[in-house]
């Protein structure tokens, strides 16, 4: 039994193309059940190596608040990925930078739903400023701009 299991696992490992296997990042997205822009963002993430489990919730602002997202940075969805919180329409390169660098923060957020942000459509009218936040009461600091 055990041997069969091991062989099967080995076969799976060999058969799976390595890049895809390495790149798939699991994430959970909490979103308002009636907001559609979050789904476009999830779709964008899925085209960039993520596997997104979408969970509609009615108390999103409570969930994001509990997750440490400052009230003035709250977006219309909250993503939990690899121990970090990603709130709002953060470009995928910045999410990947976060996961590679693994800084000692709670998460990052792009405030508002700026035009031109991934999943949003429209023209980008200025740089996106992504903030890092922690749960220790310190003011958010700029993490990256795009």
């Amino acid at each position: 039994m055990k041997l069969t299991y091991r062989l099967a696992a080995l076969a799976t490992l060999i058969a799976t193309p390595l890049p895809a296997f390495a790149a798939t990042i699991n994430a959970v997205m909490y979103k308002n059940p009636q907001c559609s822009c979050c789904e476009s963002y999830a779709n964008y993430l899925e085209h960039n190596g993520f596997k997104v489990d979408i969970k509609p919730v009615n108390n999103l602002s409570q969930i994001s608040s509990d997750a440490g997202v400052p009230a003035d940075l709250e977006g219309c969805h909250t993503l939990m990925v690899d121990g970090y919180v990603v709130d709002g329409l953060v470009p995928v390169d910045i999410v990947k930078k976060l996961l590679a660098e693994r800084p000692p923060i709670t998460g990052i957020a792009l405030a508002g739903m700026p035009s031109g942000a991934p999943g949003m459509g429209g023209e980008k009218s200025g740089p996106f400023v992504v903030y890092a936040f922690t749960k220790d009461g310190k003011a958010p600091a700029v993490y990256a701009t795009d």
């Binding site: 308002n32 059940p33 009636q34 907001c35 559609s36 822009c37 509609p56 919730v57 009615n58 108390n59 999103l60 602002s61 409570q62 994001s64 608040s65 009230a71 003035d72 709250e74 977006g75 219309c76 405030a111 508002g112 739903m113 700026p114 035009s115 031109g116 949003m120 429209g122 009218s125």
Partner: protein
């Protein structure tokens, strides 16, 4: 002005036939006697989450959640003294009752707010029988959200024949893990999206347990949505509810489309349920309004006794009509209000909060919504300029157009609206409503006779939406 008096004639005739003139006189005397009540709004606690869960700190009328059910009689003068035991101003709005403007309970607009330790005497004679409710209209989001709400049932002189008359008053609470109310009322995200929807729904003040029913009985069930923001779509598994009144006003008895009862915040629906399940059987009552978030609200649990009767009761379901003035559509004055803003609103509020594109409206306490380009925020205050003015006695043909991506139960104070059409299709069943639900992009047409002078509110009853600008005022001179 043409008034539907058939009910009164029927009532008198029946009374005379059944009991003679002497007792009719007696009833009239009793019915004209003043009915005096008292209510006190104060801090309290409630066992919302069940007997074994911690108490929740709430604000309550007379120490109970919901507040006491006031059962009063149609046409009998009523005096309710409301005492403010809170630490902040309050008022009480008698939702759906057609009453004098000064009794409507809107701070600044119709009365001075009741200061802490003071009281206000509300006096009116309810003209319509039906299911109504009461709640504060000051700091509405917080006061309603902390539990201040109760049912106001105006009894018909001659109700329909049922075995039991039940009330389910639904409230929705956003509770933390230790069963206390989550902080941050008025989050910008809630304001610009679907409002402060919670995570615990109570029926008559507690997380519902089984509803015990008897096979064969006929129940009149009064449903009241007293939630801040939660829309409810109920299904009664294995049963066929018949709607007999909406927002207190009798309609032609009918089954809801697809067996689904849509009950938005502040709406009431009276249904008649014939309990035709087998003794000992169980049937779920589910709410499937939000995609992916359906849940069982409660369960109809039949006792094991044999049915009360072999066949459903053969008694009429139609309630006596209330004396509502009939709109004269031919001479009606047309008015239109357009609901704008919110997330995914396409920048309609660009001029309101300096919002660009689809940026977050409602940030920093600003407006997230507007009516005809104007955002009135808060609960009501002095000097609110009316959106339109109607001469007393005029029929108003009111079109409400929802340009937003969100649902809005629009509540008109002081009047009931005859709902004419939804998205161009006639609305059947002679429905009168004081709270009309608009789905995203819906257009509703309705009519009413402006027979009651004063400045009257018209606002969305998702409390966050009202606070963030989805409110207007009209004047009847």
């Amino acid at each position: 002005m043409d008034i539907d008096f058939s009910y009164f004639f029927t009532r008198r005739r029946l009374l005379q036939a059944a009991a003679g003139v002497a007792s009719t006189t007696l009833l009239t005397a009793r019915a004209s006697e003043l009915d005096e009540r008292e209510l006190k709004a104060a801090h309290g606690r409630a066992g919302l989450a069940g007997p074994d869960a911690p108490w929740t700190t709430v604000w309550a009328y007379d120490g109970t959640v919901p507040g006491p059910t006031l059962r009063v009689q149609q046409g009998r003068p009523l005096r309710i003294t409301v005492e403010n035991g809170l630490d902040e101003d309050t008022t009480t709005h008698w939702h759906g009752i057609r009453l004098p403007n000064a009794m409507d309970g809107v701070p600044g607009l119709t009365q001075k707010p009741i200061k802490p330790g003071e009281n206000f005497v509300y006096e009116f004679t309810p003209p319509d029988a039906g299911t109504f409710w009461y709640h504060p209209h000051a700091d509405s989001l917080v006061q309603l959200g902390r539990g201040l709400a109760g049912a106001l049932i105006v009894e018909e002189a001659e109700p329909i024949v049922v075995d039991r008359d039940l009330l389910w008053l639904l409230q929705d609470w956003r509770l933390t893990d230790d069963k206390q109310l989550a902080p941050r009322f008025g989050s910008a995200m809630d304001a610009a999206m679907s409002g402060r929807v919670g995570n615990v729904v109570t029926v008559n003040g507690t997380v519902p347990v089984d509803q015990l029913v008897k096979a064969g009985e006929r129940v009149r069930l009064r449903l009241v949505n007293a939630c801040l923001a939660r829309m409810v779509a109920l299904r009664f598994e294995g049963h066929r509810p018949v709607i007999v009144a909406i927002d207190g006003q009798p309609c032609d008895p009918h089954e809801p489309e697809d067996g689904r009862l849509m009950l938005a915040p502040a709406m009431r629906i009276d249904i008649v349920l014939d309990m035709q399940g087998d003794p000992g059987s169980r049937h779920a009552v589910t709410d499937d309004f939000y995609d992916g978030l359906a849940y069982t609200l409660t369960t109809l649990a039949y006792d094991s006794a044999s049915p009360l009767r072999a066949h459903p009761l053969d008694a009429p379901l139609g309630l006596p009509r209330n004396p509502l003035p009939q709109p004269d559509l031919a001479s009606a004055e047309r008015q239109e209000i357009v609901l704008q803003g919110g997330m995914m609103g396409g920048g309609k509020l660009a001029g309101v909060g300096g919002m660009m594109g689809m940026a977050t409206p409602g940030m920093n306490g600003g407006a997230a919504w507007a009516i005809n380009g104007m955002s009135m925020t808060g609960d009501g205050h002095a000097g609110m300029a009316p959106q339109f003015t109607l001469k007393r006695g005029t029929t108003c043909h009111l079109t409400m157009r929802n340009e937003t991506a969100w649902w809005h139960p629009m509540h008109v104070h002081g009047f009931s609206l005859l709902v004419l059409a939804r998205n161009g299709s006639p609305v059947p069943n002679r429905q009168w409503q004081d709270t009309v639900l608009l789905a995203p992009k819906d257009t509703i047409e309705c009519a009413f006779v402006a027979d009651n002078p004063g400045d009257w509110m018209l606002h969305c009853h998702v409390a966050d939406h009202q606070m963030a600008g989805l409110m207007t005022v009209f004047r009847v001179t």
